[in-house]
Symmetry: C2
Subunit: 669 residues, 2 copies
């Protein structure tokens, strides 16, 4: 018999943990207090509304039991009850259900967190089949649940991380103090033991230079050791520097992490690329927590555009459905939607895109059904702000981000219209999936309309490219819209060819500087089969970062910078994140285009393996799917595929070979 | 210098305490647990959505200081900061502001409750002048605050009640146990001291019969005495019965109450009426807490229709603005509004009415400005559900309450349209007050339109009355719509005359059975000058209740019932509330129509005193106003008025006398 789940009002768990995590950031600033100049760590909230979970919940289920069944309610609150066929019982009481139809209602309140329920039993055990029934005119929804909480003694208020002790790999005297080096970027609680009581300054650094710079490091801790001990909240660091001392402390890190099972692998005959793949993997895992974070040092917030890319990397790494669902719910927040997700218009559009992608990789229709009312509400928010002719229009309070790049600042930029168009595509497909034909047809029409208008208005025949803006006459060309035109298939083959020549391969067009947008550029290039563009970039960009000693991928990288210039961003000497999830794209790119594995039907019921050696002599690796792993080996003589699932086809040029489940298929060239 | 206020995101304080109070109800039921039959008190939530406060808050103020000023932030959360001209400081730090313009921002997060701030200083001390600036596209609003929290050591998370020890006035052996009688209805924590350790059954009763009926009493407590002591959460009761014992316990009650200063008084030469006035006052005060409650035993919830009447009684009793504002905010809840207030359509309309009434009695324009965006949102909810011709239309999930009475069940009843019409009147006046001319004009037009349609459709010339429904042909006449027609002045004088004859004075039309609607009937009758109708009712209805030993006014009263039949309601033997706020209307009626004091301009800047002896030989009493008290004495020879405020006129028939401030005015007949 399957175990019950802890259940709650849908979204409550995600909103609760989202609220906590988004309020954990602090930043150290130097301020004058009285006559003293002090370095103070202050609370630093996000600039968007942080929603909170419902503190009341009511869930119910009606079903028939064939044989007598004993059920019992567990809950994290005293203010709760289970009503069986109209009779109310408290928790922790065994209730016998006779064969026949029954109605079970769960109700609870918890002011400080959110109420959750766990019901033992067979038919009536707690799971997604319970639905909300509270009297608030919202659609009736399935209960919220998580694979992480299946035992009656679980505490849903504490996020289930794992912990592991990490000691410094190097302790040495430096600059009149002691430097502790953990060997690579880590995240966890700082613990000091067996120390003399007193106050110690800990200067933390993702880089060696930051740790030693006690005046400008982003996080410095005044560690008050009492009874020989001290513990600090989890932070990201590689180095700890304790100035003005020559006695080493007994310092270690209680490494905190989400125990994701990484089922993927990749190796080739290029050692730099192998090393890079592992650094990308580690970067990704450090940022995979309650949800997908942007960077593990600075924000530790959930940003929709960043997360959208993490989803794709995840489908080629841990294939953890749970974290994708949690992230999508955290980003969505609660009603009413009054502002774009993270305040950024494109981030709202990516959110809409992400749900169909999630379904296409996982085949999890339940989640699409559960989140669909939220999609409609986002769509309604978006449509309430379109221009009279149904296109994106920038409102005074919208942040149109797109990328850290310079766009024509006048009006709605072309790339933004393209993400909106792609969002309509996602909405249309999800609507069709859940049986909302009306919305499906309407969204599809709107998608086609926007595509047509983009081609009509933003294409500049002189430049042979899409321009940022068609109203200013400036005809400013950036890579972004032109990349999307290829990636999202938004224009004719003829125009795509012109784009390659006039934009992508044109060195005069400002190159992409963030790994963020590099993701889309390389994805587009791989899609058209130009793998060299990608493998060159792996060397010149990711490889160059590794050459500088990066143990995780940075937020941004400019090879022309030197020394600590690399760590500067947003006006802070060390404000750049040196462990940023959006740099992990090689995992996705190599899995999808080198190993060549991707679904052609939702949930990998059908899939193709279309491997490519790219610039490598041989490649080997595994791609996870919801139904098992697919392992691909290729060199110049042969390719072999070993798969744990049905429905696969190996594609080599115009030849197609059926892949049998659990039977190695080898094709010699 | 005025003290600072504790401030918070507007509404957070009210939503927080509303959430707690609405989740405190329990009800005792007899259920089978295993092989045992047990009486169990179970959690009992309301049937409407309970909203929670924002757990994040951001408030700011920009101002100029003429001389150096030192400010300091206090907060109930560690996750907070004060940013002065862009520089962030933690709490409990003194910050010096040089003369000149400054910007002070407060930000905070508290997951378990809500963040609150207290800033010392002069210009920048915390008060309503701070405004919200969080990035969520809501209108910028003034900070929330309360007169109750003015000291830095105050805890806004604990509602400021007062406490007083009450001992039983009588302890006697009864039915094989001990009965404790507190002499009248009380509310507080039950405390047992110096007892032998063990479990004691406490059977509580608002009535003697309920306490003795251990099987059916609404609340019974299994008191587990440990170390000689036991304390129970606050409950309402007059009697405690402990069965199967002959040793009295050391039991007392820690009476919990809001320390309202009652500035009003009333006395006359009818002792029953004097007694009744005091019982009404006590009933009202017991139900005046975080907000105005319906009844102190059973729900202890805030209901909009009930509260609407409590506001009027309050204007003639304690004149506490704070509790009215708190109640209005609690009822409103948070966005999005998806269902009527308390799920009842008329209760939403009364909410809209209540704000203009509040302004008219108090003159507090600030509050109208603060709540106005919420009014607009309620209006938009209401208008989104009107029929195509702009009238009220019952939706499947609407509870159209109006009164515990039998109406034509077919469609929207006439009385409902009339409250909607009155609501438009209130909206129109508030809109004009805050300078929203467009809404003012539109709402006024809509009010006139509905009034016209009511007279066109619901008036039945045959019956000489308004009928419940005009579509069924049943021509059912109830008192309710006809009372409103008079009270809200919704029809011609000619039709009003017909209503009096055919409905009000017609004994064949079912009489009103609840003190709730009796409020409106008597208000209407007083308005047309038929005071006898009211004083007769005071005797036959309120007087009869007192004759049965009531120490507070009951939820409902039917003189034809006998014994414990009086306590039965909603299918429970003792479920009726014996202390229900809506019975306190005589305080309002006698203050407004006997003492005759009422504002003619908002906030009593102008007012009239139009006293009437009614059926009494003499009357004497005081009515509170925002600017001081007005005391009126009248007998058959003379009337005298002593007032602490300007702007008064004594009206006697068609004669008018100016009332000078603080100078007794006496007129002999």
């Amino acid at each position: 018999m399957r175990k019950p789940y802890w259940i709650w009002h849908p979204g409550a768990f995600e909103l609760y943990h989202s609220m906590l995590l988004h309020n954990r950031r602090t930043s150290a600033k130097t301020v004058e207090v009285g006559k003293e100049i002090k370095r103070i760590s202050a609370y630093y909230p996000p600039m968007w509304r942080i929603d909170c979970p419902c503190h009341n919940a009511e869930l119910m289920k009606r079903a028939t039991v064939d044989k007598e069944e004993v059920i019992e309610l567990f809950s994290n609150t005293e203010d709760c009850a289970i009503r069986v066929d109209g009779k109310k019982y408290p928790k922790n009481v065994k209730i016998t259900l006779a064969p026949g139809e029954h109605t079970v209602e769960l109700m609870g309140f918890k002011a400080q967190t959110f109420p959750a329920f766990y019901v033992t039993g067979d038919v009536f055990k707690s799971d997604r089949t319970y639905i909300t029934y509270n009297n608030n005119n919202e659609p009736n929804r399935h209960a919220g649940w998580s694979e992480l909480y299946r035992e009656p003694e679980d505490n849903v208020e504490i996020f289930k991380f794992s912990y592991k002790r990490l000691d410094p790999v190097l302790i040495k005297k430096e600059n009149g103090g002691i430097l502790y080096d953990f060997g690579k970027e880590v995240f966890g609680k700082i613990v000091i033991e067996n120390a003399r009581d007193g106050e110690y300054l800990l200067s933390l650094g993702e880089s060696y230079e930051e740790a030693l710079d006690t005046e400008y490091c982003q996080i410095c801790v005044n560690a008050l050791v009492r009874n020989g001990e001290f513990t600090f909240v989890p932070v990201a660091l590689r180095y700890i520097f304790v100035p003005k001392t020559d006695t080493p402390l007994d310092i270690f890190l209680d490494f905190e992490y989400l125990p994701l099972e990484s089922r993927a692998s990749f190796s080739c005959d290029d050692e730099l690329v192998n090393r890079m793949w592992n650094v990308c993997k580690y970067t990704m895992l450090l940022n995979s927590r309650e949800g997908f974070f942007d960077g593990i040092k600075r924000d530790r917030w959930v940003w929709s555009g960043d997360a959208y890319q993490s989803y794709f990397v995840n489908y080629y790494l841990a294939f953890d459905k749970e974290i994708v669902k949690r992230t999508i719910r955290m980003l969505r927040g609660a009603e009413p939607m009054l502002k774009h997700i993270n305040t950024i218009s494109d981030y709202t559009f990516y959110w809409l895109c992400s749900i169909w992608d999630y379904y296409f990789y996982t085949g999890d229709k339940d989640f699409v059904c559960d989140i669909y009312p939220d999609m409609l509400s986002v769509l309604s928010f978006v449509e309430g702000r379109l221009s009279p002719d149904g296109m994106f229009e920038r409102k005074p309070d919208d942040w149109v981000f797109m990328d850290w790049s310079t766009f024509d600042p006048a009006g709605p930029i072309c790339a933004e219209q393209m993400v909106l168009c792609k969002a309509y595509d996602g909405v249309s497909k999800c609507a069709a999936l859940v049986g909302d034909e009306k919305t499906a047809v309407r969204a599809e029409k709107q998608r086609d309309y926007i595509k047509e208008k983009i081609n009509e208005r933003y294409w500049c025949e002189d430049k042979g490219a899409f321009v940022d803006d068609y109203t200013t006459g400036r005809e400013n060309v950036t890579r972004h819209a032109n990349i999307f035109a290829i990636l999202f298939d938004l224009t004719s083959e003829e125009r795509k060819k012109k784009i390659l020549e006039n934009v992508i391969y044109n060195k005069e067009i400002t190159p992409i500087t963030t790994p963020y947008f590099e993701f889309y550029e390389l994805d587009a290039m791989c899609r058209i089969g130009d793998f060299k563009y990608m493998t060159d970039m792996l060397h010149s960009y990711w490889g160059a970062m590794l050459d500088l000693g990066a143990t995780t991928i940075w937020e941004e990288f400019d090879p022309t910078k030197k020394g600590i210039e690399h760590y500067e961003m947003y006006g802070g000497k060390y404000e750049k994140s040196l462990c940023h999830a959006w740099g992990a794209s090689p995992i996705y790119l190599l899995g999808k285009y080198a190993l060549g594995v991707y679904p052609t039907c939702a949930g990998y019921t059908e899939y193709e393996v279309k491997p490519s050696l790219m610039s490598f002599g041989k490649i080997e690796g595994t791609v996870p799917t919801p139904k098992g792993n697919v392992t691909v080996k290729m060199d110049k003589e042969r390719v072999s595929v070993q798969s744990e699932l049905e429905g696969g086809v190996l594609v080599l040029g115009d030849k197609r070979y059926r892949i049998e489940k659990n039977k190695e298929l080898t094709v010699n060239f």
